[in-house]
């Protein structure tokens, strides 16, 4: 007797439907799983045997052969357990073969027959929809996640028996409960930041034009506090964006205790000792998304960027440019999306007191130059803006009135994004990412701005790239002002935000 059912394989942030075939043949009672299983998949046999025994259905007294197709794709993870167990029951004629039709089954088995949660329920559900199958049978904990996809039936089960009963007919699952308190970090509002009017405006410009930002400032000046508030002023995520973010969380196993759709833009702040695999993605076995992908549609914050090692910073070039990470393995390449806003923060020097009016800098010239040299090349080319954040005095901390809320700023940012969308005819294009030619077409400099720009190019010794970045920021400042023409006011602001790390290294 041959039984057929389906499960999924996770490849990057995507899931592929895997056909699970189970047959009984002659030979000693035993089990072989074929189709390039990794160790966790091979060990499924022991879990399934114990689980079947504990619910009272015995292990067939014949040889069991399980095949996971396509056979050339490596199978990782423990979520095949439930599909294999159903296959065994069906091959043993305990579950009607026809009832398995159209279901994608995922779940890890415990020895007592209960079903444990697995990563990747959302991608599995998406793959089910894509393959026009009927629905997903998954652990109850993952059900809310799988149910985010419309048009896919989701059957939550807590143990093997429920699953078998459902397929035999006669058992109906309880409705899926959405976790009562969805895990949401409280939104950090821009209103809480006292002082820093210029830095706040820089954040607004960065959010509006999709610009990456570099912040200089001594320890304790509020760089991290400011950076944490960027996700809150970025435009709200569309449903598709939210699904993508949730999907990446799902495959990285961060949602195994149940979660609703993630509607808040992610904020990731990897430590400077992060490994290459941790930042970009990879790792042994199943490649996992790195910090850049976890920051997809959100903000990647590199605090103390001068302390990151050079090869780590250089590795950011491709993700920043392409918005996607490709991890090549012998078994094929895995892709993770990674479109994020970058904020890098840095002390003015290793000890942090360069230029401080009250304390002397203790760094040697050698330290100073190697500190700044980290920021050359690939990374700097993708950073449009640079600001200096100073310490805020006591009177500012205590007495200053509350500023605008994130919501008010976000409204302006969304308006500005709408202008860009209309102009470039694409929702993903921003002033920071449009090709140069198309930016030049829409750069209308006023007469005075033109003269000012001329002298700025000469006297500030702007390079071609520097000029390009300056123009992009000036365009965003003008857009925020609702002006089609870029005036000298807008240009002045952009000059104040320009990146000039390389200019001052010699001092």
């Amino acid at each position: 007797m041959l039984a057929k059912t389906a499960s999924v394989a996770l490849v990057g942030a995507d899931a592929f439907i895997i056909d699970v075939e189970v047959g009984l043949g002659s030979g000693l009672p035993g089990c072989s799983i074929v189709g390039l299983p990794s160790a966790p998949v091979r060990e499924a046999e022991q879990r399934i045997r114990a689980a079947l025994t504990s619910v009272g259905s015995g292990w067939p007294g014949r040889r069991v052969i399980a095949n996971l197709a396509p056979g050339a794709l490596r199978k990782e993870g423990t979520h095949y357990d439930l599909a294999l167990a159903m296959g065994v029951l069906s091959a043993n004629e305990e579950v009607p073969a026809a009832s398995l039709e159209g279901w994608v089954i995922i779940g890890e088995l415990a020895l007592d027959g209960s079903v444990r949660s697995v990563p990747g329920a959302l991608p599995a559900s998406l793959a089910t929809k894509h393959a026009r199958l009927r629905g997903v049978i998954c652990p109850r904990i993952n059900a809310a996640e799988a149910a985010m996809v419309e048009g896919v039936e989701v059957v939550p089960v807590t143990n093997l028996q429920e699953c078998a009963d459902f397929l035999k007919g006669g058992w109906k699952p309880r409705p899926i409960e959405v976790p009562p308190t969805p895990r949401r970090t409280p939104i950090e509002d821009l209103r809480e930041v006292r002082g820093h009017p210029d830095a706040k405006f820089a954040l607004e410009v960065a959010a509006a034009g999709g610009h990456n930002l570099l912040m200089f400032g001594p320890p304790g000046s509020g760089k991290t506090m400011l950076a944490r508030r960027l996700p809150g002023i970025l435009p709200s995520m569309t449903l598709d964006e939210a699904l993508e973010v949730t999907r990446i969380r799902s495959v990285s196993g961060m949602l195994t205790d149940g979660c609703d759709l993630i509607e808040q833009r992610p904020f990731r702040a990897p430590h400077h000792h992060v490994s290459l695999a941790g930042l970009i993605g990879g790792g042994s076995g199943l490649p996992r998304p790195g910090e850049v992908s976890l920051a997809h549609h959100g903000v990647l914050f590199l605090d103390e960027v001068g302390l990151f090692s050079r090869h780590i910073l250089d590795s950011l070039r491709a993700p920043l440019e392409d918005g996607v990470v490709v991890i090549a393995r012998s078994m094929g390449a895995v892709r993770f999306p990674c479109r994020f806003s970058l904020i890098a923060a840095m002390n003015p020097c290793p000890c942090g007191f360069l230029g401080d009016p009250q304390r002397a800098c203790r760094c040697s010239p050698m330290q100073l130059s190697s500190y700044a040299a980290k920021l050359t090349g690939p990374l700097l080319d993708r950073i449009d803006m640079q600001i200096s954040v100073g310490r805020v005095g006591k009177s500012q901390l205590l007495g200053a009135p509350e500023g605008e809320s994130s919501e008010q700023v976000r409204a302006r940012v969304e308006m500005c994004r709408a202008i860009q969308m209309h102009r470039y005819g694409s929702a993903v294009m921003t002033n920071a990412s449009v090709p140069r030619s198309s930016l030049e077409m829409h750069m209308h400099l006023s007469a005075t701005a033109n003269v000012f720009l001329g002298s700025a190019i000469d006297l500030l010794r702007l390079s071609g790239r520097g000029l390009d970045r300056l123009m992009r920021v000036a365009r965003t400042v003008a857009d925020l002002d609702g002006s089609d023409v870029v005036s000298d006011d807008h240009l002045g602001r952009a000059i104040g935000f320009r990146t000039s790390v390389t200019e001052e290294v010699l001092v």
């Binding site: 210029d198 230029g355 002397a360 200096s388 002298s455 006011d489 104040g496 000039s500 790390v501 001092v507």
Partner: protein, 314 residues
């Protein structure tokens, strides 16, 4: 550079700087590489910290440039920071410069200044009392400083903390009856502690421009005035008044002034483009020309400021 074609200078040698004979513990001989030492020209030393502020760098540049054009040979110690800036500015101005080393002529130290060292060998002169192969140590530098002080008629301290080597040079100069000049700085600039202390104790003369030194050492020089008079806008002047040698962030400037944020940003950009302000990682600081413009205007609000240029007497 392993083999060095050096000359040995001893008392009696045409290049031997006679001024050295006046100091206590004068070296018996010196090794030199580069152009011949012109002993007829007055030498002046410019020394300071290895970690100057931007203001310090600019002041050292303008002093060295002015004095080199005025016919002084600029002496310093080839250290990074003020020393290097002074050598460089002298060479850039077409003047003469002498670098006194704290090691043998074949020892390439300090590394960051190797290019500058090559330039000095070409357009100036390297001097040392140490044989080839002698490595720099913390004892050789103070020894080197006594030669710097001995060669010069005066020593200018641009920036330096209390413990700076520049102060050792100043002390040696004082002991050997040389003139000491110090550039004053803000009380909040830790690098101005040294010069401020020298002035406070009456050991050094306060210097605001290379003209002060020329007036002191060479009163017979004359000054010409160029008649270009830059126009300064009211806004620009208001922001210039807020700026200082130590950088301030634009947020701090916004708090200090009465200007609206957009206008301040534009004015700062204009000042930067005119070269009157510089932007650093820690914010905006006043540049030398900015300071000059500001001083000129606050003295005579109705008269346009003049830029001074030095013309040595024929």
């Amino acid at each position: 550079m392993n083999t060095v074609v050096s000359r040995t200078l001893e008392p009696g040698h045409p290049e031997w700087p006679g001024a050295l004979d006046e100091i206590a513990g004068a070296p018996k001989r010196l090794f030199a590489v580069g152009r011949p030492l012109d002993t007829s020209r007055p030498m002046i030393a410019i020394v300071g910290t290895r970690r100057p502020t931007i203001a310090g760098v600019e002041i050292a540049q303008s002093l060295a440039r002015g004095l080199a054009q005025g016919g002084f040979t600029i002496v310093s110690g080839l250290a990074v920071g003020i020393d290097a800036v002074a050598h460089q500015a002298a060479l850039d101005a077409g003047g003469a410069t002498v670098a006194v080393l704290g090691c043998g002529l074949d020892v390439l130290y300090p590394r960051p200044n190797l290019k500058l060292r090559d330039r000095i060998v070409e357009g100036g002169c390297l001097l040392t009392e140490y044989e080839e192969g002698v490595q720099p140590t913390k004892f050789t530098f103070p020894q080197r400083n006594r030669i710097v002080a001995g060669l010069a008629v005066g020593v200018i301290v641009v920036e330096g903390s209390y413990r700076s080597g520049a102060l050792i040079t100043a002390r040696r100069a004082l002991e050997n009856n040389r003139n000491i000049y110090a550039v004053p700085g803000s009380l909040r600039n830790p690098m101005s502690q040294g010069p401020n202390m020298l002035i406070a104790r009456g050991e050094a003369q306060l210097v605001t421009s290379f003209k002060d030194i020329c007036d002191d050492l060479a009163p017979s020089m004359v000054w010409s005035r160029s008649d270009e008079a830059p126009q300064v806008e009211q806004d620009e002047l208001a922001v210039l008044d807020l700026l200082d040698d130590s950088p301030s962030t634009s947020d701090a400037l916004l708090r200090a002034g009465t200007m609206e944020a957009g206008q301040l940003a534009l004015t700062l950009a204009r000042l930067e483009v005119r070269g009157w302000a510089v932007r650093t990682a820690a914010g905006y600081a006043l540049s030398t020309s900015g300071a000059r413009i500001r001083a000129a205007i606050s003295r005579q609000p109705s008269v346009a400021p003049h830029r001074n240029k030095i013309d040595p007497l024929p």
